[in-house]
């Protein structure tokens, strides 16, 4: 992974000092509330329903065991003994005190971490595939480019006050595990016939109020021009993006208004001025950065491979865990293990400090001391020898972290919702819990099914791209829920469609269960839920979900017609 040099460290240290000073001036009345707000946001501090919250950057989701241990310690010292991993590969501490934040930042800086630009109208933490570097279907490891983007965007002076937040994601594989096409700026990384690394650039994706799949505006961009081109995109957005209405300020609205082609031309004009300019990366830079992300010292031949098969036959739960939680690795004798943070009874993405410490130890023992955070809010040990799977599984089981549900209906992506978030229309966590409980017994049978839940239209829980999405809405101060079906972000990106009218909280789990029952009754062979939706149509799932329920308080149009 990337290791700070003295200059990187000096910048992060200066940031801590700066924020301590800003906090002091705010507390003594020398900075107003309104003027302090963007300063704290650009250091990841929100003030939520019951407490301030600190969001810590985990660049492209990669952590060392030492860093994870520090996060555990911070959870213990400044929070209530836990942290929450987010859909942007970051971690949030939900119960911090504002006047202590600079101390937390100093602790983070001691392990080469920070909270720079994890919120605010600026370039946010860069994300990518949680299997980068180990994925069997990878074209190019995107992390060296993501790190270059991290450095370039860190404290970038021209783009510190954009019209709205700006999220950048990289995908370097056949399957897009980073949901890149629902980001403001997405790079698809590949090698051309000459072996040169190039990028396809997509702009204006996003979820929230106006969900959009990002259109391509540039193909064949050479990696050395990556920062110059990004500068051109951002300058165009900074100058012409709307600032009169925060709901229309994201770049997707500008791209929509101009059309992707016209927006691309505008960027191209700006790019013509800056191409070959001072942001052009040196030819040696990719190689230098790639060296930080080299393969660990893999064992070439591993004995005891047969143990895995023997234990899988003997222990059905271990078998399910290997099937669901161990992803194919580019080396046959290794696997990438996902530690599900979605056992029943736990808010999705939460981990206690003790669990974080234990996982850090397991990373040291089994996976070269590194951990990744996935945007599904799980943790990943990406380099586990298959001969160690049984030992790792047993260790995880002892910690209550061996839930074999990765990619299943119970592996729900979920925002903090109305329990924490000051913007939420409705609670998320209890709804996710009810769905998990209802579907737990059938989840293995149902197989791959991405359920994604957001407590409001801002879509932190990615409901637009869930195979089934759940959206919390407010109707006359009551919490209601809208169901979506048909979204996806894998080999292709599609936005889900709302089916039926909003339903009350207690109806959510039964409604979803009727959809999964319909799938189980009608699937063909090994067809996945999402493929069945595409074959049978969303209307069929709507009917299954809503017509079968005579107690439905909010009747669907079809039922009204029947009346």
């Amino acid at each position: 992974m990337y290791i700070y040099n003295a200059i990187d460290q000096s910048i992060v240290d200066a940031r801590v000092k700066q924020f301590a000073d800003q906090t002091e001036r705010y507390l003594s009345g020398r900075i107003s509330e309104d003027e302090f707000k963007p300063l704290r946001l650009q250091n990841g501090v929100y003030v939520e329903r019951h407490s301030p919250l600190l969001r810590v950057a985990i660049p492209y989701g990669l952590l060392s065991s030492r860093q994870l241990s520090m996060l555990a310690q911070i959870g213990r010292k400044y929070d209530r003994g836990f942290g929450h991993f987010t859909t942007r590969q970051n971690i949030q501490f939900n119960w911090v005190k504002l006047e202590q934040v600079h101390e937390i930042l100093a602790d983070l800086a001691s392990v080469q971490m920070h909270a720079i630009q994890t919120s605010g109208s600026c370039i946010r933490n860069v994300t990518t595939d949680h299997l980068a570097g180990v994925a069997h279907d990878e074209r190019v490891d995107p992390r060296p480019l993501a790190e270059l983007m991290r450095q370039w965007s860190t404290l970038n002076p021209e783009f510190a006050f954009l019209p709205r937040k700006f999220k950048v994601a990289y995908n370097g594989a056949v399957e897009d595990r980073a949901a890149s096409e629902v980001h403001d700026l997405a790079f698809d990384v590949y090698r051309d016939e000459a072996g040169e690394v190039r990028l396809t650039v997509k702009v204006g994706g996003g979820q929230g109020r106006t969900p959009r799949v990002a259109p391509v505006i540039k193909t064949g961009l050479h990696w050395r021009d990556m920062l110059s081109y990004t500068e051109a995109v951002l300058r165009t957005y900074n100058r012409w993006g709307r600032r009169d209405n925060i709901y229309k300020a994201r770049i997707k609205i500008l791209v929509d208004a101009l059309g992707a082609e016209r927006f691309g031309e505008e960027v191209e004009q700006e790019f013509a001025h800056v191409q070959g300019g001072p942001a052009t990366l040196a030819a040696s830079e990719l190689e230098r950065m790639t060296a930080f992300f080299g393969a660990p010292a893999y064992h070439s031949a591993v004995s005891g491979d047969q143990d895995e098969a023997r234990h899988r036959l003997a222990d059905p739960r271990f078998n399910a865990w290997v099937k669901r939680n161990v992803a194919k690795h580019k080396r046959d004798n290794y696997g990438a293990v996902t530690i599900s943070l979605k056992p029943l009874g736990i808010a999705p993405g939460d981990a206690t400090s003790d669990q974080m410490d234990a996982i850090a130890d397991l990373a040291d023992r089994f996976s070269f001391g590194q951990i990744r955070v996935s945007h599904h809010q799980n943790l990943v040990l990406a380099d586990v020898a298959r001969s160690d799977l049984w030992a790792l599984y047993q260790a995880l089981e002892a910690l209550g972290l061996s839930e074999p549900n990765v990619g299943l209906a119970t592996d729900i992506i979920c925002c903090p919702g109305g329990d924490y978030c000051a913007l939420a229309n409705a609670k998320s966590i209890p709804v996710a819990a009810a769905v998990q409980e209802t579907l737990a017994a059938k989840a293995q049978d149902i197989g791959t099914l991405a359920i994604k839940m957001s407590g409001c239209i801002n879509a932190c829980g990615h409901h637009h791209v869930g195979h089934i999405g759940i959206l919390g809405v407010d109707k006359k101060d009551e919490e209601w829920y809208q169901i979506l079906v048909g979204g996806r972000t894998d080999t292709k990106t599609a936005l889900g469609q709302i089916v039926g009218k909003a339903i009350p909280r207690e109806a959510v789990a039964p409604t979803i269960e009727r959809m999964t029952d319909f799938y189980l009754a009608n699937r063909k062979g090994g067809e996945l839920f999402i493929d069945a939706v595409e074959r049978l149509g969303k209307a069929a799932f709507h009917d299954a979900a809503f017509q079968a329920d005579p107690t439905q308080t909010s009747p669907s149009p079809q039922i009204q017609e029947a009346n």
Binding site: P38, R49, E99, P157, P278
Partner: protein
């Protein structure tokens, strides 16, 4: 009275007094934050979000030390050969700085309006004035010119700062040294960390 900070290439900062009309006056004093309230959260804030922000119609300052500041439109209408005294203009966030291509002669100062400190268009405007048009005169930040934005403003090529009336001059002077190093190129042409072609060439030269 407020203060104008002038930043020189050497890094030296000089302060000059500014007359009324050449800076944004201090707003009313801030109430002390109530930490009990903040650390207990702010509840449901949806009703507090005001989505529509009115665009500024007029610049926040009308003058500089040597007279009034012209608007971009007024300057473009003027016969360039006519200018005998140094001229200052003010660019609003919606103005296109590239309209000044070929019309920089005779301009002593270009003020860039930061109507709200959170409106970042001024950073791109200053960057374009320096790096695209090669403007060598003074670029002045006016409006909401606050301590915590000075570092970024200077990086974008702004070299004078009409501090808002309430800003602490001594703290402001130190703001230019907030970070000991920077990662990326910006219009101030300061040395930066990223290994770009330009950086390697500079190192080799």
């Amino acid at each position: 009275m407020s203060t104008l900070l002038k930043l020189f290439a050497s890094g030296d900062v000089v302060t000059l007094p500014l007359p009324d009309g050449a800076f944004r006056p201090a707003p009313s004093p801030n109430p002390l934050p109530n930490m009990d309230v903040i650390n207990q959260g702010q509840g449901d804030v949806r009703s507090l979000i005001r989505p529509n922000v009115k665009q500024p119609e007029a610049p926040s300052v009308a003058a500089w030390e040597h007279g009034t500041l012209l608007t971009l439109a007024d300057w473009l209408k003027r016969d360039a050969a006519n200018a005998d005294a140094p001229v200052g203009i003010v660019l609003m966030p919606t103005d296109d700085p590239l309209a000044l291509a070929g019309r920089l002669d005779g301009l002593a100062v270009i003020a860039v309006e930061f109507a709200k400190f959170s409106d970042g268009r001024g950073y791109s405007i200053a960057t374009l004035l320096r790096s695209r048009l090669g403007f060598k005169g003074e670029i002045r930040a006016v409006g909401d010119v606050l301590i915590d934005q000075l570092f970024a403003m200077a990086r974008c090529g702004i070299d004078s700062f009409a501090l808002r009336g309430d800003q602490d001059v001594e703290v402001a002077k130190r703001a230019f040294e907030t970070f000991p190093a920077v990662y990326q190129w910006a219009a101030d042409e300061r040395d930066f960390v990223l290994a770009t072609q330009a950086n390697l060439e500079r190192a080799a030269a």
